[in-house]
């Protein structure tokens, strides 16, 4: 029998038909909307007189524009208010389950869907957001889509896709203490570039991936789009099943047992062929940080801003334009660079273990003078769980802002943004120019690096932080 990758198996199972134009119609098991794009799609369907086919498989979360200020409401971020209300109205008329601004389970869609068990191993998932593949961490196959495709899914429950190619990223060895999935992902993007996985669905495999807790796998899959990947996932294993068990939307009782038997078959065949393979030995990996204005401009934390002459010819022009924006010269060490702001949050790094790592670093210490530091939990559930174990008090005592859940400073769609010229260490996914505010200089890094840098007031290696006072 033909050896198949797990991607092939999931794709083939979900392929409803081949359209006349050669695109496969792929059934979408779970569809999650957010307010930035939902209203366009609702308006379009209404105009066309087309109903939502499967409202019962569709969910909506207010995340991109919601304020993080305690006590927030629809109007706290005035530029989000119309979007929030329009999605609420669209969900009401179309009978879609909405996690509204004040819902105890509101949060970033990519955090909420897996933590409630809305996404499942071997299931397909779509979100009108490029970081949809975050949920690949539980073995789901997720696609980011535009607004037209969003309307298409609402009307038909399928996506019309060209079959992507197979790629495997193999992470060998084991991550050292203080080094996380974020660091591994940044290193891979550095190696293969921002378009390195274009046209491919990536399966992340290898001993280092198997050893990762589910939340870390989600971080890894989240960053897949930053190397251009169409989707990315980790094949599910016992760790996945244990993580999902008893979450509210997963199958229960006998149906869970039946699902589990099926999910255990979800692996790539031993000799399945991949169109592309990339390997990284994680054993010697140190924490990674971006120095430039795209997520492939990365160095190890003990490294320096590269000399363009040492880069591949194709990357020199981008580097040269990044130096000016970032106010950095080739040869400048990253460690010790003074910073103004720290942001811990986003669909990349805002789950409970991310916050625990950061809290362990800041406990008993204080944010450096002049540095503004924020923690924004990935969901209201994460926030509640963090508060139950006192993390909010740790962060607040250290001088951090502790916010309500949402996308916040990742893209600044809710008004949370830095001031021009500020240097920010951020646990997010994009260091594009002006993304976190006009002229804000973003350095992407792990929660540990962000927390340590907030305390030091400079880019710091969490592994070498001076002992705290606690």
């Amino acid at each position: 029998m033909m050896q198949q990758t797990l991607f092939d198996k999931i794709w083939d199972f979900h392929c409803v038909a081949r359209r006349a134009d050669g695109r496969d119609l792929i059934y979408i098991d779970r569809h999650v909307l957010h307010e930035l794009h939902a209203h366009h799609a609702f308006a379009r369907l209404q105009k066309q007189g087309r109903p939502v086919r499967r409202a019962d498989l569709t969910f909506a979360v207010q995340d991109h524009t919601v304020a993080t200020k305690p006590g927030r409401d629809d109007n706290t971020n005035p530029s989000g208010s119309a979007f929030i209300k329009a999605m609420r109205e669209g969900c009401r008329t179309n009978h879609i389950r909405l996690f509204d601004v004040d819902d105890p389970e509101q949060g970033i869609s990519h955090v909420v869907a897996p933590e409630l068990g809305i996404v499942l191993p071997g299931a397909t998932h779509a979100v009108p957001d490029s970081h949809a593949s975050t949920v690949g961490g539980v073995g789901a196959l997720a696609f980011g889509c535009g607004t037209s495709e969003l309307a298409h899914i609402l009307a038909s429950q399928v996506m019309a896709l060209k079959r992507p190619k197979n790629m495997r990223v193999q992470l060998d060895g084991r991550l050292a203490v203080g080094v996380s999935a974020k660091d591994a992902a940044l290193r891979i993007i550095a190696e293969i570039g921002v378009a390195g996985a274009r046209g491919h669905v990536v399966e992340y495999a290898g001993a280092a991936v198997r050893a990762m807790p589910i939340e870390q796998r989600m971080t890894l899959c989240n960053l897949n789009i930053e190397m251009g990947g169409r989707s990315g996932f980790v094949a599910p294993d016992d760790g996945t099943f244990e993580w999902l068990a008893r979450r509210p939307f997963v199958p229960q009782g006998a149906e869970w047992d039946r699902a589990l038997r099926y999910w255990r078959t979800l692996t790539s065949d031993e000799n399945a062929g991949f169109d592309r393979e990339v390997r990284l030995d994680c054993t010697t990996l140190e924490p990674q940080i971006t120095w430039g204005t795209d997520p492939s401009q990365v160095v190890g934390i003990s490294g320096s801003v590269p000399d363009p002459a040492a880069l591949e010819p194709g990357r020199r022009a981008a580097a040269a334009s990044a130096f000016g924006y970032m106010d950095l010269a080739p040869g400048t060490p990253l460690l010790g660079l003074p910073i103004d702001r720290v942001f811990i949050g986003s669909c990349t790094n805002s789950r409970l273990p991310d916050l625990q790592v950061a809290a362990d670093i800041v406990r008993g210490r204080h944010v450096a003078e002049g540095v503004i530091a924020m923690v924004v939990p990935g969901s209201s559930s994460v926030k509640r769980e963090a508060e139950a174990v006192g993390l909010d008090r740790v962060f607040r005592a250290a001088g951090f802002f502790w916010g309500e859940s949402g996308c916040s400073m990742c893209a600044g769609g809710n008004g949370d943004r830095g001031q021009p010229g500020e240097r920010c260490v951020s646990t997010t996914n994009r260091n594009f120019e002006n993304r976190q505010g006009p002229k804000v200089r973003t350095h992407l890094a792990s929660p540990a690096t962000a927390a340590a840098s907030a305390i030091a007031g400079r880019i710091a290696d969490a592994r070498h932080l001076a002992p705290g006072t606690a």
Partner: protein, 208 residues
């Protein structure tokens, strides 16, 4: 969707790789649902800090103000899935983007909206860029999707490839949802089959 058959217009060179959707269509803080897509396009590059126009940005130069063809580098449209990065092109009269390559989601969004994404081979691409730069907005190029050729000043016609299905969809301005809903019976039978073999996929209930 508005069909695309051919377009004759000024070609503007923005020769840079990895231009992302945050650059093309930054999130601006308007308070309404009706956003100004015309003003959104390359908003930060087009404006200086004091809000005045940046005269050095290519689309602000007098000869390129009405460009209908944007010529650019590798991996155009990287980043977010926001479709405003396509709508803002159309709102400015740009109907064709000629790039060395496109980010996957951006290219899909182009096809949904009748914005023609053209990829030229590296040799042809370099020739075309040189001709666009030499023309400097003084003469028009024609991009013809029927003949799959680009004609204009400075040399012979250049051929380009595009998957036949994408070409048909653009030329006929087909309704994508309509195409899919022709398969509605197959969608229904898939659902029935899934209900039998993986029933948990067909229900997403809160067990509490």
């Amino acid at each position: 969707m508005q069909p695309f058959i051919r377009h004759t217009g000024i070609a503007a060179p923005l020769i840079k790789d990895d231009i992302n959707t945050d650059q093309i269509a930054p999130i601006l803080h308007s308070r309404g649902l009706k956003e100004d897509y015309r003003a959104m396009l390359f908003h930060r590059a087009r404006r200086r800090e004091d809000g005045s126009e940046n005269p050095d940005f290519v689309l602000n130069m007098p000869q390129f103000r009405n460009a209908g063809i944007l010529v650019t580098g590798e991996n155009f449209g990287a980043g977010s899935s926001r479709e405003s990065a396509v709508w803002s092109m159309l709102a400015n009269g740009i109907r064709v983007i000629v790039a060395k390559s496109f980010a996957d989601i951006y290219r899909e969004n182009c096809l949904q909206n009748g914005l023609l994404p053209v990829v030229l081979g590296s040799v042809t691409g370099e020739q075309f860029v040189a001709r666009v730069v030499a023309a400097d907005g003084q003469a028009s190029f024609t991009v013809d999707l029927v003949t799959q050729r680009i004609s204009g000043p400075g040399g012979p016609d250049l051929a380009f490839e595009i998957p036949a299905a994408d070409r048909t969809r653009l030329i006929e301005g087909l309704d994508d949802i309509g195409l899919t809903l022709k398969h509605v019976d197959e969608i229904a039978s898939w659902e029935a089959r899934a209900q039998t073999v993986q029933p948990w996929l067909q229900s997403a209930r809160d067990s509490r």
